[in-house]
């Protein structure tokens, strides 16, 4: 049997095959022996105790489990942990330090871009990938980029505004602190 679910321990007992993987998670190198079938979302949540990554649908549709893999958004509920071996993973906990907020986080609060909060981490990470790639998106760009993340509370309008708000702020900072 495996002991991998509750605690990441150096070795699993019994006859379950495991593989040692090393992942950079939010800038920190972490190693674990994992069953090949362990999903990345579960490694992040139960193994690394980073519960801001949520699992919603198990079929890559809802995007609550979205994390950044080398900067690109992926659905961690349908990716195996072993596939992330040697890669950089960013979760919501890695968006900003404990006492500060990323402009995307600020934007979501300021524009009321969340209600129950369950989809929010995935939304924000998808938004980050968009703004990293396209710092000045149109509303249509934002809507298209977010189409892989479902929200049942907000109706998206305020999420779109939140991302545009963050884009404005990030560009303002890049221009020397003036908000456009």
């Amino acid at each position: 049997m495996t002991s991998l679910f509750e605690e990441i321990t150096p070795e699993a007992s019994g006859d379950v095959p495991t593989r040692k993987i090393t992942i950079s998670i939010n800038g920190e190198q972490r190693s674990a022996n994992v069953e090949p079938r362990l999903l990345l979302a579960h490694l992040i949540r139960q193994g690394f105790k980073l519960t801001g990554t949520h699992t919603g649908c198990d079929t890559t549709n809802c995007g609550a489990c979205t994390v950044l893999l080398d900067g690109e958004p992926v659905k961690s509920c349908t990716m195996l942990a072993v596939q992330a071996n040697g890669h950089e993973v960013t979760t919501v906990e890695g968006l900003a330090g404990p006492s500060e907020l990323h402009p995307i986080q600020e934007g979501f609060k300021d524009e009321h871009g969340l209600q129950c909060g369950f989809c929010t981490p995935g939304m924000m990470l998808t938004a980050k990938a968009l703004l990293d790639r396209n710092p000045d998106p149109t509303e249509e760009d934002v809507r298209w980029a977010l189409a892989g993340n479902l929200c049942r509370c907000t109706g998206y309008q305020n999420i779109v505004k939140a991302v545009l708000w963050a884009g404005d702020k990030l560009r303002g900072e890049a221009d020397g602190g003036e908000e456009s």
Binding site: E6, L101, C153, G155
Partner: protein, 792 residues
């Protein structure tokens, strides 16, 4: 200087949300985030077929798997008298099947193991032998003379009928129809839908043998109801049961009922004396937990030639699935369906309703709605459009002619509800102005000449939100009041707890605003806690838009009790009699000398440090609030669409929403609620439904089949407001969370039907999928969406 209420985050402030600070950091605390020492994991084996007799369950292979701690079957539950549980609608529901399975996805067995992967493996190792029986997936099939009996477990059940119910005046309605110049008719199916919060249901049961205390962390919109249910079902002492609803990832009615998984996890924890976590996957959630709608609506309207509605006749056949476990007030079998036409002045009406069992998942919940009012208002507004068309009248003018007038309140509806306020005509005018009604009609005419199909749909409605009053509203006999407890600490900071449970509505933010309004204590000085039955006062939870109307009112009332005591303290501090003291926001002062006063914070300190003789120390209280009536928000939703004649695809051009929910506590949050509701309305009109094939297979059991709108499809919304304060609510507020979901669908459907005018089509069942619209246009026929789904 008098305090500026907006500056302390009082009523009307679009205060940013307190709860967001943890959610945007990924620091929410949802059930699946909770890890207890020694916790085990439970998975449920579900029936692959819709209707079958269970011949044999063999769990040997599962028991033998390493890491498996417990395999539960119906037989083991039955030995503890837990194989069946009561529902919220006085029926029974199988926890784990013993005799038959009655819907696809029904709970058959559970495995508890060291981790969920092992539990899932072990589920696969349970062998069940089924004798498959014919499946029933519609009321028509259920009521056929030779239909198989679904509930043969019930001694006196001879057929598949759950109830026959009626309300209104049959004789009066018949007489009015006899006088009618025109009779309009419509028949529709409001399809089965699922609330589908992104977070599924789940629980962690933690029974501590040493203390005999059972703690259950769970996704419940109504934790106190769950505590009562556990006490009754599991026969555990109520004071030794603690239900905790932590952060909830959306509810929309799905998280009101008691589900077998909760019960099984509780029993497993008691047997194993370890915490047991059960987290549903999405397919289980969609296939087995509380659905919404699934009602067949038939209506007739008696009309005078000048456009006056004389009477309405309505019949509903509702499909409740295998167990009648609707979550609704016990007095009304088809929820508040009879709130239909409440905004129109109609002399008489009659409703008959039949409910049936089918081989589908149970649990008709108020999916973002106040107990079937979504169906009621959809029926109403589709009927209104059909009638206006039959009379050849403008649809806006027809509504205006029949609205209850502003000076006609309180108004008793034909079905007996008492509406108390509204400016219906004004709301409609604001909506028409915003959309540019006359211009659009011209544009539509012009476009038609170029072969383009434009349409405009209107939906106007008032709906009953905020059950109860306790005279008429109860669940399982428990009256639908709610509560708030406020403790003001000596420094003037406070903690507030209510019997409601926020799931995204922002109570942690808005309740503080009500306290700020009543006491002048800044909202940021009020900590709000909900969801723990050991600490929160008893309440009936959050659904049916009842939080602001009931718990929110209790917040006002408890703050007023605090203010009354603070007045005594102020009198003591100012060495005056209470009668000589006046209240301004946050401060008492001497009548005639506003310069001599004490703040609420100074009164709070005195409550702990400087008391007059005979006054009880402390500054805390609790209020239980039983509202005198429901609240009646009003709304006007208008959508414009363009239908592609070549494909049946329709695009939304604009959506205008005018909501009158009385006084807005936090306008930002109110608008957020409206936009969320409009999106669910759009979803139901456009794509979102669950159907079944002839064998009872659920079509829509995952997000690849059950389509939800994304940011890409969802239209933009233009919001407007009219404010008519609720005359009986302490701060004049009304419910708002569900208005747009309730009233919105008809606006979209009416718009598409308006675009198809001239195609001899009266109705296309939701969702208006392109193939349905195309068929209606080209074959000039109504299109039904009722199951069974036929693969053609």
């Amino acid at each position: 200087m008098v305090l500026d209420e907006l500056k302390i985050g009082g009523l009307g402030s679009s205060r940013r949300r307190v709860e967001d600070d943890r959610f945007i950091r990924g620091k929410g605390n949802y059930v699946d985030d909770i890890v207890l020492p020694g916790m085990l994991h439970m998975e449920i084996l579900r029936s692959p077929v819709a209707h079958a007799r269970i011949k044999k369950i063999d769990t040997t292979r599962a028991w033998d798997m390493p890491g498996v701690r417990l395999v539960l079957t119906g037989e083991m539950m039955a030995a503890r008298n837990l194989a069946w549980m009561p529902t919220l609608s006085y029926d029974t529901q199988a926890v784990l099947a013993t005799d038959k399975v009655r819907f696809q996805g029904q709970e058959v067995a559970c495995v508890v193991a060291d981790d969920p992967y092992i539990a899932k493996d072990a589920i696969e190792a349970i062998d069940v032998e089924y004798e498959v029986l014919p499946a029933i997936v519609s009321p028509e099939q259920a009521l056929a003379p030779e239909a198989p009996l679904i509930r043969d477990d019930k001694a006196n059940q001879q057929d598949n009928v759950i109830f026959d119910w009626e309300v209104g005046d049959k004789a009066g309605t018949d007489a009015a129809f006899a006088r009618a110049d025109v009779v309009s008719k419509i028949e529709m199916h409001y399809p089965r839908s699922h609330p589908s919060p992104i977070e599924t249901c789940g629980s962690i049961a933690d029974f501590d043998r040493a203390t005999e205390k059972l703690t259950v962390y769970m996704t419940s919109q109504a934790p106190h109801i769950i505590r009562a249910a556990v006490a009754l079902v599991a026969e555990l002492p109520e004071h030794m049961i603690r239900i905790v609803s932590p952060d909830i990832g959306g509810g929309f009615g799905n998280k009101v009922p008691v589900y077998p998984g909760y019960v099984a996890s509780i029993l497993a924890s008691i047997l194993l004396e370890r915490p047991v976590k059960w987290i549903e996957d999405k397919t289980s959630n969609l296939m087995s937990t509380g659905f919404g709608r699934d009602v067949y609506l038939q209506g007739e309207m008696a009309l005078r030639a000048d456009g006056k509605i004389l009477a309405v006749r309505m019949h509903t056949d509702s499909d409740h699935g295998a167990f009648f476990s609707d979550a609704q007030p016990s007095k009304f079998k088809i929820g508040l369906m009879h709130s239909t036409f409440a905004c129109y002045d109609i002399p008489t009406a009659h409703l008959t309703a039949k409910g049936v069992y089918t081989n589908k998942a149970p649990g008709g919940v108020a999916y973002r709605c106040s107990f079937r009012v979504t169906e009621a208002m959809y029926f109403q507004e589709r009927m209104v459009q059909a009638a206006a068309d039959d009379l050849g009248m403008d649809q806006a003018e027809f509504r205006r002619r029949n609205f209850v007038r502003d000076d006609d309140f309180p108004h008793r509806t034909a079905f007996g509800f008492l509406t108390d306020s509204g400016q219906y005509g004004k709301c409609l005018d604001v909506g028409l102005e915003a959309i540019g009604y006359e211009d659009f009609l011209k544009e539509k005419e012009e476009a038609a000449k170029r072969g383009k199909l434009l349409g405009i749909g209107i939906s106007t409605m008032t709906e009953p939100l905020g059950a109860g009053n306790s005279r008429e509203y109860d669940i399982l006999g428990i009256k639908m009041f709610d509560s708030a407890e406020l403790r003001v600490h000596m420094t003037g900071k406070a903690i507030l707890r209510t019997g409601a449970k926020t799931q995204g509505q922002g109570h942690e933010t808005t309740w503080g605003q009500i306290v700020a309004h009543e006491l002048g204590i800044p909202a940021e000085d009020v900590l709000v806690e909900e969801g723990d039955t050991d600490t929160a006062p008893f309440g009936m939870g959050t659904y049916a838009s009842r939080s602001t109307p009931v718990a929110g009112a209790a917040v006002s009332m408890v703050a007023r009790k605090i203010r009354a005591k603070a007045r005594k303290l102020a009198a003591h501090l100012l060495e005056a009699s209470e009668e000589d003291i006046e209240w301004e926001l946050g401060r008492f002062h001497l009548r005639g000398d506003p310069s001599r006063g004490v703040t609420i914070q100074e009164c709070a300190m005195a409550a702990y440090s400087n008391l007059p003789d005979g006054l009880e120390p402390g500054l805390e209280n609790v209020a239980y609030y039983d509202p005198p009536n429901l609240t009646w928000p009003f709304a006007c939703y208008i959508a414009t669409v363009e239908v592609d004649p070549g494909t049946g695809v329709w695009d939304v051009l604009r959506v205008v929403a005018v909501d009158d929910c009385g006084v807005r506590i936090n306008p930002m949050i109110v608008e957020g609620q409206i936009m969320g509701g409009l999106t669910e309305a759009y979803a139901m009109a456009n794509m979102q439904f669950i159907t079944f094939d002839e064998e009872g297979n659920c079509i829509g059991g995952n997000y690849m089949d059950y389509l939800l709108p994304t940011a890409w499809e969802t239209p933009g919304f233009e919001l407007h407001e009219v404010v008519t304060p609720c005359p009986h609510h302490p701060i004049g507020a009304k419910g708002i969370g569900e208005c747009a979901t309730v009233g919105g669908p008809a606006a979209f459907v009416n718009a598409v039907m308006d675009a198809l005018k001239g195609h001899d089509v009266r109705n296309i069942d939701m969702p208006l999928l392109p193939d349905r619209v195309y068929k209606a246009m080209t074959e000039r026929t109504d299109v039904s969406g009722a199951p069974p789904l036929r693969m053609e």
